[in-house]
Point group: C2
Chain length 117, copies 2
Amino acid sequence: MRPLVHPAIEDITVEGILHVLSDPVRAAIFASLAASDSARTCSNFIQMQDKEIPKSTLSQHFRMLREAGLVRSERHGVEMRNTSRCQEVEQRFPGLLGAIMQAHAAQCAERAAKEAG
Amino acid sequence: MRPLVHPAIEDITVEGILHVLSDPVRAAIFASLAASDSARTCSNFIQMQDKEIPKSTLSQHFRMLREAGLVRSERHGVEMRNTSRCQEVEQRFPGLLGAIMQAHAAQCAERAAKEAG
DNA sequence: TTCTTAGTTCACGACATTGGAACCAATAAA
DNA sequence: TTTATTGGTTCCAATGTCGTGAACTAAGAA
């Protein structure tokens, strides 16, 4: 089993961040991690947006989030504990994650409104 | 020749914007368009970042920028005039493009500094 | 040792991206 | 008129990336 790869803060790229967050599932995972104080495991996200995400897909999503520098993962026994690296990224690219998450949230609210109305 | 497709402002998505700007060439094109007052043609961008972009590739990049809602293109005779849709997008997702472009600029400056030694 | 849990890796099909070659449409030159 | 040129598009084949089921691993419990 390969060791977990976490880029140094200075190796994080804007392209990488944008690409990894351009997928709605990964964006939702990241939003949830960013909003929560404590670490969350991968399997917390098997149910998302009214559908099941296969374990293997989830594993890839977490790898991509990790290698883009957005998430820190640590193995604890049999499970993985994931936290966002928001604060570090905020230092490097001020305002970026906030703006993206806000836009995602706005779009999400808009869709919910359209759905209901 | 297919007509040019421009999404209505309410059909522009965050995912679409992030994906299209996660490519360094497209990000550079968009930054240049956003910074310039007047329209620019496609062929203005054949030389970018010390290398040539093939015409066909450039054409695809512009199509993607257009269909994501970031750029407006109009045929004028033999050429295309492209402008950014910054202001519209700003209305829909306030702060998003600004934060992204600022992060790109910061990264660009950083790379230039590292290059210079 | 065997089982369970949580996640990873592999392999393959589906889809996206790149770029050369051929093409089209508008205008300028002959 | 034709013919040539310019600016961009479309087609297609090679290559790359993504999502997923099946098989696997590693840690801890029974």
